[in-house]
Symmetry: C2
Subunit: 387 residues, 2 copies
């Protein structure tokens, strides 16, 4: 977290590009700044000093700290995009999706009252934060159980994290642990299931589904995520976790997120507004361009490779599209520690080891600012030459 | 959390006052709305859509998610009020002080690598959330150890929460567990150490000190707290906890809190501004008035009593003052379940049992809106008549 980046907080290069350290380790979604800068001051949020002093947003709601306007905009956006079924689900706001993952693990495990912590699993390569957040406090309720592909305690209760599209590799996933009973519980982490990244093939309709503005609109600094939860008791327990952990979620961040979601919903309207480009089209086009350049840079040699994604029909765009994930999951040739190699060339990435995979793999963010992606793509061939 | 209140979110009575349920269970600081409403639109915060997309606020700071402007205003305010020594302390922002308590427990216990969870203690009556937050995930690092007055495992590492002024009873506290070794670790929860509540007798200077805007300015909805931490390794571990728990703290909330703290610092300037009343004077006067009325309402009978507080010199106001706590810690006559009695009269309070104390006690919020406090104070004599 304290590593230097190529750009400072204003997005300008600190060093000459050829010298700069390019930090593509985190999935910091600064790519989206260009869209929001175009809108200028037109979509500002203004909060007077006397607003939102109370802990409470809506005491009649199961999720008493959820701002009604945010609830409304979340529903609106899912209806427009068609990526999730809102009906028969409770909406729970969280301080980013991280807090909601913890809340879900708590809500599913606590009522079981097991003598030992239950296993939380996900197939490798899995999101590198899952083991860390699961084991942080050495909970007696749950513990990290590793790669779901090799999980074999199916007679005990367990939780499988189903991340789709998957972080780090962008693959569309279904649960992998096959159970004969009802011991398995699922948390669907759908934070990348938006049309800039992948085809929206059908509205997701699971027991617990997680989303976040970070990966939808780029506003990672707001720390706003939401869960769609079918079961009322699970929803109540998740609310309880957030109540004890942080006594709710910042109202300012919720109001801003509501504003931002409203803007992108408006941008999707069929009758085009002259000064408001369709947000998902704009972002999709940026990612298509970046992935095209990445594949070109990689094609020139045999050191790196990235997977191909199938062409699928997207109900949102009304067109066929491949996936253009938020991360490139790059594989180096056998025996090469890819993170180390890239670091020698001042490119910071995250090793495959962190995802339960091999050191030949790295995860590289595709959501950085243009300047950083450009330097990265120019530097890739240099690495090949130096080998 | 889902109990009805006398007022809706706009502060207007839902029922006729004589019928209304008055919720004084939570410490929702809506009393402060009147100050901020007077300022009107002059101290609005405006955030353009393109601001603060990144997870990062300042990559060069140990607390990489702390907004520089908030850091600056926290320092400014402590210097003006004189309630804490900033020098040689790291500032860590949290999603309210709740998250910072958890972060501190993690940071102090994790490096010890003990086979069993260490005890977290505080003298009764203690803040009712401590046991709940400590034991929520059945951590292997720490567990609630109960009343510090009777704690007797002093040969093992433990953490004492030193809450001063104390929640629920407003008493100024020092650590109570006397150790012969260095096994005891302290967390100073100073969220009520502000001049509206009590005399600022000297600047606090402890290893870990916690504050929050909720109790300082009334902006509980923002969920912004901060810790002043002496030891760099402890500070780093606290940052790590917040990183894994919520990947930082909402930028909008931080920017708003910075704005709000700046306003109250300006309001304290010796050269009075015509349209900006000294925030602490204003709030102190409100609390003095409310406590005066409460003591009058109680004096008329022998059913309830509240403690007296000593007169002390306040360095901030330059005058002697008693304490006027955010909560009234009321005792009923022996054998009466006070929470139950008040509930029969549609006054929701929190039982002494929740604070490790007796059912004769209740905690009643003194920070609600005028309308609610008025109904409460009018209803108290009714209760006496009905007995």
């Amino acid at each position: 977290s304290s590593v230097p980046q190529a750009t400072d907080n204003n997005g300008s290069m600190q060093n000459h590009p050829s010298e700069a350290i390019i930090n593509l380790d985190h999935g910091d979604p600064t790519m989206y700044e260009s869209y929001w800068k175009k809108l200028g001051q037109k979509h500002n949020l203004t909060i007077p000093g006397f607003q939102s002093l109370s802990y409470f947003s809506n005491i009649k709601n199961l999720c008493w700290f959820l701002e009604p306007k945010l609830e409304q905009e979340i529903k609106m956006l899912h209806n427009i995009v068609g990526n999730a079924i809102i009906k028969d689900h409770h909406i729970i706001v969280g301080t980013g999706s991280s807090q909601l993952i913890m809340a879900a693990l708590f809500a599913l495990s606590e009522p079981l009252n097991q003598p030992n912590p239950i296993n939380v699993v996900s197939p490798a390569p899995y999101y590198s934060s899952y083991p860390e957040m699961t084991d942080l406090l050495r909970s007696g309720l749950f513990k990290w159980g590793g790669d779901a592909n090799t999980y074999d305690h199916k007679d005990e209760p367990y939780i499988e994290m189903v991340t789709s599209p998957n972080n780090p590799d962008g693959v569309i996933r279904k649960p992998v642990v096959i159970t004969n009973g009802a011991k398995g519980m699922l948390v669907h982490d759908l934070v990348y299931y938006w049309p800039q990244y992948t085809a929206i093939t059908s509205p997701a309709d699971h027991d617990i589904m997680l989303f976040t503005v970070s990966k939808c609109t780029g506003h990672a600094g707001s720390r706003i995520g939401w869960a769609l939860v079918r079961d009322e008791n699970v929803a109540k327990k998740m609310v309880k976790f957030i109540e004890v952990n942080t006594i709710g979620v910042s109202k300012e961040a919720q109001l801003r997120a509501a504003n931002i979601l409203e803007t992108i919903s408006v941008s999707c309207q069929k009758i085009k507004s002259r000064d408001l480009e369709n947000f998902f089209e704009y972002s999709h086009n940026l990612l298509v361009e970046r992935w095209k350049k990445l594949r070109e840079a990689i094609k020139k040699n045999e050191l790196f490779c990235v997977a191909k994604f199938p062409l699928q029909y997207c109900n949102f765009s009304g067109d066929f599209t491949e996936s253009y994930p938020a991360f490139a999951w790059m594989k180096c040739k056998d025996g090469v520690d890819c993170e180390k190699l890239l670091k020698e060339h001042k490119i910071l990435s995250r090793s495959g080891r962190r995802f339960g995979s091999d050191p030949e793999y790295v995860r590289v963010s595709m959501l950085s600012r243009d300047e950083e992606i450009d330097v990265f793509l120019k530097r890739l061939p240099t690495i090949l030459d130096c080998k």
